[in-house]
């Protein structure tokens, strides 16, 4: 369905991509200078988007488990993953876009404003890479655009009069972009309203989802590595390494994690990577305990001693003999860890220690919304609701997974 709605956009991204390849062949240096994060981002998600349709068709049989037990939390999680992967397709606006503050500031949800589009003054002879850049800017939106004016109302009579709160401004009719001889006056619709800088809350929410989930995945994978490697060493070796690692884990468990995270972020500075690393380091303790106890019990089993006698290396033992056995409890634990990390990231950005102001994040949206709480409830309500629903569906699917893997708990 989204293919149909966003067909223009997908086609736009694709032509842009092919244009870019053309440019790359002819003028490599200029092409390398143009590339930025949002361009790669857009191209990658379009490619993934086009790939996923044949994938779904091909592996139709494997997806049947989705049909059986599709309840609210699973559906919500799938929607979240979708948003995470295809952010540039779902919303083609820049989350930082703000213009004409007097009109767009703190609009309530479901409000509309008029939008006038001006003609862009394209200069004549420009180089090929310049031309490409202009075309790119048309499709991938920047955080500022001179040619868009938001107004409360517009009057077309010889000249164009437009009203912005108490201001009245006039421009000539020729400046406005025309379509079929008629001047373009569109309506801009803000589904969830705008924030104090006139930025679209819906777009920011979607981009914030992506950041939260990316950090969650990154940190979970990091703690998975730490937990499995340390747990395997402690369980397999026993003796002194076991004692040392146990004490180490106890220390980490006794640590007030949020204070530790705050200290590290304060000393080392906060960026997306430092947040991922810090949250990953602070969450591996439960995985360590699970892996260690499982390894201890597997060590007694016959198949494991056979594998040892055959002469497998330690990494092979871990990958081929232990991982398949412990995958169920580890998976359940990872799901809960994921929800903890998403919560911790939101809490950090609420406290002003998150990934900074260059990306929208749920936590920082809530903390800036708190200042406008008596005028604009939607600034807190929507990111808060998104956070609650995310955590709830992750937690309840974790509980469900636990029941599937461990039927004894099902009382």
């Amino acid at each position: 369905m989204i293919v149909i709605i966003r067909f223009n956009l997908v086609a736009g991204y694709l032509t842009l991509f092919f244009n870019y390849i053309g440019l790359l062949v002819r003028d490599t240096k200029a092409a390398a200078a143009i590339v930025n994060f949002s361009f790669i981002d857009a191209v990658l998600s379009v490619i993934m988007f086009l790939l996923i349709i044949p994938l779904i068709v091909l592996f139709k049989k494997k997806w049947t488990f989705l049909k059986n037990k599709l309840n609210f939390s699973f559906a919500f999680l799938i929607a979240l993953c979708f948003i995470f992967l295809f952010t540039p397709i779902i919303s083609n606006e820049n989350p930082e876009f703000s213009k004409n503050l007097s009109v767009t500031k703190l609009l309530p949800p479901l409000s509309t404003v008029k939008l006038i589009q001006l003609k862009s003054n394209e200069s004549g002879s420009i180089s090929e890479s310049e031309k490409f850049r202009q075309r790119m800017d048309k499709i991938i939106k920047l955080s500022y655009n001179d040619n868009i004016i938001f107004t409360d109302s517009v009057k077309l009579a010889g000249t164009v009069k437009y009203y912005q709160k108490h201001d009245v401004k006039e421009i000539i009719l020729e400046e406005i972009l025309t379509e079929d001889g008629l001047p373009v006056v569109k309506e801009k619709f803000f589904l969830l309203g705008t924030d104090e800088f006139g930025r679209d809350l819906f777009v920011r929410l979607i981009f914030g989802t992506r950041i939260s989930i990316a950090i969650g995945f990154g940190a979970v994978i990091l703690s998975l590595f730490i937990g499995i490697i340390l747990g395997f060493t402690a369980g397999y070796r026993g003796g002194l390494p076991d004692i040392i690692l146990n004490r180490f884990t106890e220390t980490f468990l006794a640590f007030p994690v949020i204070y530790l995270v705050v200290l590290i972020l304060a000393l080392f500075g906060s960026s997306i990577f430092s947040v991922i690393i810090v949250l990953g380091i602070s969450g591996w303790m439960s995985l360590f305990k699970i892996v260690k106890s499982e390894v201890l019990s597997i060590k007694q089993k016959d198949f494991f001693s056979t594998a040892e006698l055959v002469g497998l290396r330690k990494s092979q033992l871990l990958l081929k003999e232990i991982l398949p056995v412990i995958v169920a409890p580890v998976l359940v634990n990872m799901v809960f860890l994921f929800s903890n990390i998403v919560l911790a990231e939101a809490a950090l950005s609420y406290l002003g220690l998150g990934i900074g102001n260059s990306y929208p994040s749920w936590g920082s949206m809530i903390s800036s919304g708190q200042q406008y709480i008596n005028r604009a409830w939607w600034l807190v309500a929507f990111p808060g609701l998104g956070l609650i629903l995310t955590l709830f569906s992750v937690n309840s699917s974790g509980r469900m997974l636990g029941k599937i893997f461990n039927p004894r708990l099902n009382t």
């Binding site: 004490r247 220390t251 949020i258 204070y259 705050v262 200290l263 220690l353 008596n374 309500a381």
Partner: protein, 328 residues
């Protein structure tokens, strides 16, 4: 028997001290690893190298790292972690002032969490209504999923902005000094209602799940069925046989939960701008007051280690079987 208990106490104490020692060591490693020259935090680099060299010498920064480590340990033992940049006071003095509030605040919330969750699970068991049980179980998961800052801001919007029932922030009213002693306490409690709800909600949901599960487990055991068959009243069974058995595992959980409580208190103090240690830590982070941050982290860690130590002792007191387990 007495010497055995003393032995256990010593064992526990030494392991707690070892953990504390590891905590201090990790703190030292983190501080040393942090980027930037330590002298930059005292004098600007523009003032020339001579001054910063002087400072490095005075703080014995040019000595080997191992020597620095030992002097750091010695200072921690002496209770000297430096002087706060903002307050111009020894950091522990500042931390103590704020910590006392956090201690009271967190303790009230802790008591609230335990009593309310026990009360709810007892009520559910007495009702024996499957639908209600499922509803409460699902809604407890939902409440557990609400981040404290979302709940706090929502409560502020509902009760302070819309209904104007409770104050938005702060700890006392403007006319606080003129009140009598009794109404002073009432005034403080009145200001603490929303923060306490914010801090306790997730904890109540979590404890409810633990207590309910362990009560269910105990209820299905043979001796309870035996008691029921002998005609002992349900009330007596619940109070005398189910409760003590079900609450035993709670003690060790409670020790771990204290860590969560500390971080929850940090966020709640920021939301309602209460004068606690959490807000002090965040403020000192934002104003780059390094000695104060380190003191806050150290205090919080020490409190949790201490709480776990006491939880272990209480557990031993309650469950005599554990004593044998540790000694062997």
């Amino acid at each position: 028997m007495n010497s055995r208990i003393l032995k256990i106490l010593l064992k526990r104490l030494s392991s707690s001290l070892l953990t504390l020692f590891l905590l201090v060591s990790i703190l030292f490693i983190i501080i040393r690893l942090s980027p930037g020259d330590p002298t930059d935090k005292y004098v600007s680099a523009k003032l020339g190298n001579e001054l910063s060299e002087k400072i490095a010498e005075k703080f014995s920064l040019n000595q080997p790292v191992v020597d620095q480590y030992f002097s750091f340990l010695l200072n921690v033992i002496k209770g000297d972690l430096g002087i706060s940049y903002n307050y111009r006071l020894p950091v522990f003095k500042v931390v103590w002032e704020y910590f006392s509030f956090t201690l009271v605040f967190a303790s009230i919330s802790f008591v609230l969490q335990i009593t309310l969750s026990i009360a709810i699970s007892l009520w559910i068991i007495k009702k024996q209504n499957k639908k209600l049980e499922k509803l409460i179980s699902n809604s407890s998961l939902f409440v557990y999923s609400i981040p404290s800052f979302v709940l706090g801001v929502a409560l502020i919007y509902l009760f302070s902005v819309s209904l104007n029932l409770f104050p938005i922030s702060g700890l006392k009213s403007l006319d606080y000094e003129n009140l009598s002693f009794f109404s002073k306490i009432l005034n403080r409690l009145y200001h603490l209602v929303l923060p306490l709800v914010t801090l306790s909600a997730a904890g109540i949901a979590m404890f409810y799940k633990y207590i309910k599960e362990s009560m269910d487990e105990v209820l299905h055991q043979a001796f309870i069925i035996n008691l029921q068959a002998s005609g002992v009243s349900e009330k007596v069974i619940l109070r005398k046989h189910v409760m003590p058995n079900a609450l035993r595992p709670l003690i060790s959980v409670a020790g771990v939960e204290l860590g969560l409580l500390m971080s929850g208190a940090l966020i709640t103090e920021v939301i309602f701008s209460l004068p606690g240690m959490g807000r002090l830590a965040i403020e000192s982070v934002l104003s780059r007051d390094y000695p104060l941050i380190i003191a806050c982290v150290f205090t919080a860690g020490a409190v949790i280690i201490l709480a776990n130590f006491f939880a272990d002792i209480i557990k031993l007191k309650v469950d005599k079987r554990l004593i044998k387990g540790i000694l062997n």
